[in-house]
């Protein structure tokens, strides 16, 4: 059964819908090598959507987290100092100076045309 093991290697498939989208994970397939995985990827998982690019990654190249390691991902919810939630009081402050607050909506609109 040795040779059957190397024929059935596990590949994770990632793709971009359009040239400007981010890569997203699709699914996994079995293939003997990368080139084979590549010629099977789109037809297996993306038959009904546009595809601009594909990444093939053999599972053995992925670093995964076990249950213990996943515990290192937990954080306390006491970090208002780095979110806008912590600065909501500014709205009232600026009113005293007859100014509006620069919130997320306002600041993200600055990339557009000058008003």
């Amino acid at each position: 059964m040795g040779e059957e093991n190397t024929f059935y290697q596990e590949y994770e498939i990632f793709s971009k819908r359009t040239p400007n989208s981010a890569f997203q994970h699709q699914f996994s397939l079995l293939a003997p090598n990368e080139d084979m995985a590549l010629i099977m990827a789109q037809e297996n998982f993306m038959r009904r959507e546009p595809v601009a690019d594909i990444w093939i990654v053999n599972r053995k190249h992925l670093k995964r987290m076990n249950a213990d390691e996943k515990r290192t991902l937990v954080r306390l919810e006491n970090k208002e100092y780095r979110t806008t939630k912590g600065y909501g009081y500014l709205k009232k402050k600026w009113r005293q100076y007859e100014q509006e607050m620069l919130d997320e909506k306002e600041i993200l609109s600055w990339g557009g045309e000058r008003k």
Partner: protein, 270 residues
């Protein structure tokens, strides 16, 4: 040249129709044989990928039959399903069964033959489509441009299978070489234009048989060189020339399956 059959020079129109039947019947039969592999490929993921190529090819056949319909040759579905073997213009390569014992309960479909046939067919299709993109018959050049987009994948797919099997085990190499021989034996009529050759070529509908053969050879030479194999020679005289209606029993059996349901009632709508 537009598709208004009335304004077209009758000789030109006849040449266009003749060529279109060859192109349509080729893809139709190629796709039919490909679809027989559904559920039976040596690997499930590969089965799924192969199926897309069969679908694309059937789609190409449908486009050609539609052009024929627009020229008044008949209804596309009727042209695909009802024309008997002597009227078919496909290369015999595309009509051959997929393996031995085909007509028995559990036939032996040969993957080496599937890959070899598909590789050589796709390489030939590539040179033909590239040439058709310059066809003087505009409706045909337009569909060729569309088909060329899908051929990139077909070519990558079959090049990969062909190359990988031929550079693996001795057993695989032997099976592939045997399959290549079978394919080449039937390759003699692929680039032929049959009785209308002179008109088809002189009207600029597609490049000449000789040009295309040379282009095909040039395209596959690098791969064969890297595999340390000789590019096989296309037989000078085809064993049977499908372009003039010479076909095998394989085609007759295939056609009877293809028309089995609809010929039970040719007036019915399905």
């Amino acid at each position: 040249m537009n598709s208004d059959g009335n304004l077209m020079d009758p000789e030109y129109k006849e040449a266009v129709i003749s060529l279109l039947f060859q192109l349509a019947d080729d893809d139709f039969l190629y796709s039919f044989r490909g679809s027989e592999w559904l559920g039976l490929a040596p690997h499930i993921e590969a089965d799924i990928a192969f199926s897309s190529i069969s679908q694309d090819s059937m789609g190409h056949a449908a486009m050609y039959y539609k052009l024929l319909e627009e020229l008044g040759a008949g209804n596309a579905d009727d042209l695909a399903h009802y024309r008997p073997a002597p009227e078919r213009r496909n290369s015999i390569l595309t009509e051959r069964v997929n393996g031995q014992g085909y007509y028995m309960e559990t036939p032996h479909f040969d993957w080496a033959y599937a890959v070899a046939r598909s590789y050589f067919y796709t390489q030939a299709k590539k040179v033909r489509i590239d040439s058709l993109c310059e066809s003087t018959y505009k409706p045909l050049s337009e569909v060729a441009v569309k088909m060329r987009m899908e051929l990139y994948y077909h070519k990558l797919h079959w090049d990969t299978w062909f190359k990988q099997l031929l550079s693996s085990t001795d057993e695989a190499k032997k099976k592939m070489e045997d399959a290549i021989k079978l394919v080449i034996d039937d390759f003699g009529d692929v680039f032929s234009y049959g009785k209308q050759k002179q008109q088809i070529e002189s009207f600029g509908l597609i490049g000449s048989e000789e040009e295309l053969k040379a282009g095909w050879k040039e395209n596959i030479e690098p791969l064969f060189a890297s595999l340390q194999l000789k590019v096989p020679a296309i037989p000078d005289h085809p064993v049977k020339n499908g372009r003039i209606g010479e076909h095998t029993r394989d085609l007759e059996e295939g056609l009877s399956t293809l028309s089995e349901v609809c010929s039970a009632d040719i007036t019915a709508v399905w």
